[in-house]
């Protein structure tokens, strides 16, 4: 069995798992944990698309 993912799919999964853990361990209330998890995931996605477009334009 082998998983053949694109860059986006791999980075998406990485962001998802990491955001859940960061959300769980960082804050003190469930509400804050949920917010921080979503915030971290949004930051990952923003960086993913932002850096992706930067590389696209950087290559000309």
């Amino acid at each position: 069995m082998h998983m053949n993912l694109s860059h986006f799919e791999a980075a998406f999964l990485f962001s998802l798992f990491t955001s859940v853990v960061l959300g769980v361990v960082t804050k003190r209330t469930d509400r804050d944990r949920l917010h921080y998890g979503f915030y971290t995931f949004a930051c990952f996605m923003l960086a993913l698309f932002g850096i992706g477009w930067l590389m696209y334009f950087g290559h000309g």
Binding site: H2, T18, V25
Partner: protein, 138 residues
Amino acid sequence: MAKEKIQKQAAPPLGAWVPAVALGWLIPGGGHFLLKRTGRGGLLLASVTGMFLCGLLMRGAMFQPQTGDFLTIIINTGGFLGDVCSGILYLLSVWLGYTQADVAGHVHDYGTKFLVTAGLLNILAMVDAYEIAIGRKD
């Protein structure tokens, strides 16, 4: 001149946190289960295990400690420690004979990073279990 009083906190007893941290290493989220934080433990178990399994399915490489130049030591020993911190997931995959040579390719490379990151996330979970066990966190 006012004298600053330095309050030295007594170290928490080992019995209070070692079982939670040790179980947290062996089974991701296990420390939280032991401390009756089942919801958070379940999320940690699912995330760390999911990350590790994705790494295996992408045929990521496991690091082995190596000697040589400084960068080689840092990368390989650090990577090895990251892998080992996944606990039973790492031990099972090694015992069951998982091996993967370090070859080129983005999927394989992502797999290697997934395997190490699973261990690093488990370290965060262990620190959280420690803080809960000593009463610093709910």
